[in-house]
Symmetry: C4
Subunit: 194 residues, 4 copies
């Protein structure tokens, strides 16, 4: 069972998600700055989500690269991840249109949290199929970043009811820690090649 179609299908879904998000930025009726100004928070939430979906695509790309076989369980764990990613446009639009209000900021954090957990489940499913001596298993090591992120999202969800600005800051900081390229898989591949 090849992984080609799994990658192609995931690429398709993620490409659509990342592009559909911008549709939530409705073309304003007026033609001046007053018409454009209310779109600023929508634009900012779009930038944040674009970076997040980009990170997921990037990491998905790396993880599948070291995956050698695809089982039925992996297909469904992957669809489960895509399900939560597909809620990004909704959560992003709701948060942006309500200028980062409390509840929308919390719901955005819930979607971030669910996607992070779905990613961990997919990772565990692949490792279970590949075995404990697989490249992926050794590459992720203790996986501090992957395990800590969900906890930070929970903190962000709680904080969003007090200060949604603080919640946004938390979400943005997590994104930044992931933006720093994750060299683990590439390093492991090089060591393997020796």
């Amino acid at each position: 069972m090849g992984k080609g179609r799994l990658e192609a299908f995931s690429d398709g879904v993620i490409a659509i998600i990342i592009t559909i998000m911008v549709l939530e930025m409705h073309v304003p009726r007026g033609e001046d700055l007053h018409a454009l100004a209310p779109l600023l928070p929508v634009f900012l939430s779009y930038v944040l989500s674009f970076v997040y979906v980009g990170i997921y695509w990037n990491n998905h790309h790396h993880m599948l690269h070291v995956t050698t076989r695809v089982s039925g369980g992996i297909l469904w764990a992957n669809l489960h991840l895509l399900f939560w990613l597909s809620l990004f446009p909704f959560a992003t639009g709701w948060m942006g249109e309500n200028h980062f209000a409390h509840l929308p900021s919390a719901v955005y954090g819930v979607v971030l949290l669910a996607a992070a957990i779905a990613y961990l489940i997919l990772q565990q499913t692949i490792i279970a199929a590949e075995g404990s001596h697989s490249v992926l298993r050794r590459a992720i090591g203790r996986d501090w970043k992957g395990r800590l992120s969900p906890l930070v999202y929970v903190a962000g969800i709680v904080v969003s009811f007090v200060s949604s600005a603080a919640a946004q800051a938390i979400y943005a900081v997590v994104a930044l820690t992931w933006l720093i390229p994750d060299r683990r898989i590439e390093r492991e591949l090089r060591q393997n090649a020796k």
Copy 2:
């Protein structure tokens, strides 16, 4: 005539269908729970349809895997299946926005029924091209699940005019029976390799 583009095109269409469905979950105007609550049935119908489209993609993936040649008839039988799948976002949105009312639940069942029949037609077209000794022919065997599902959908359609909750239960149960991985093709491939 290679099957690569047939798979790529089908992946593209199914990826768009599964992602477009979430667009029917319109971003609400308010920012509190009262604004979010009416979206619950829309969300639930989205989850059900996501699982159904995921099942179709999964089974399509397996069926094409053991298909060796692609004829003009297969191209059109495949487009026919994609046509009915493309009505999922509409049927899902109508059912969700009307809180699982009678007629929308029945129409949803009609789309499920038509897609199931289109899948059987595609399967027969491939078997006709591959021959009665093909891997696919032996793998599906008597194909109880594939043949019974349409009958159960008909039952769901009839029941939906009495109790749409019962119809939903029927649709969900069929989805669950398909979620259990269909090992027939994988088993047949292993036996073939011996």
Copy 3:
């Protein structure tokens, strides 16, 4: 310069066009037959356009299959075809929502005409690059169907101002003549293999 990405990009655009058309079938507000009835013409125009886009994808698939090299001219002739195909959702929606009124039916014919001409231009560009002894050149022969279709669309456009029902009939008949599988390329490939 490989043709892989040209096929992949075209598949992507055509897959999106064929799926986006169904978005023009807006989810109705009511939950009974009265709410569904006005959608019938929209649905019928969607079926017609789905078949047309399916025919284009099918023929594009065959034509690219016998194309051996891709030039800059072919890239742009292909984009030109995709441009006119991208207007199908708009033309389909306008015609369907206005219950096949005169002008929308004529505009639909104009889009059909422009796409047919763009397809001929792409075909000529490929033949110019492949040479007069190419498989494609011999396969299309005098290309009666390809050359007559634009003339029939012109007739349909004129007729649509008198009777849009007659225009629809003309459009549907042309689609049916193309639905019959075009065996020319497959036959030529077999003769070539001898």
Copy 4:
């Protein structure tokens, strides 16, 4: 780290962008010419953007063709380019619906400018990874067209506040200079093959 998925993902996003733009051309309510007429500027801005996105896809196709390895930096530089391209539908729709008013024309120029800079960054990132003796480095030479375009866009943005017609003319002229096929990479590849 292969470039296959990078190409596939970019193709997907660009295909969606180019097709989604036409969704901004909303189906009009009336059925006569009076209903269609206001769509002319929207249509014209769609044509301009279609050509621009087509140019980007074309050049991206050529540039990736001579790229041999893909680093994390290239993945993000590519996502950065896709981000600005994803704003084309919004900028196109706003400019078209406001009949090429001053501010929307300027914002359109800003998106053109940002995409051009993002393309240069991606090009530099690839050259940095490929080395100064790479095919791409030699092919682009002094890259007059790539370096001048951003300056012309800046001129277009300034001019748009005086005359948006003049700004449109500037944007269209730049597109035309890029439409003329860029033979540099193809020429370099032929010289290399000798």
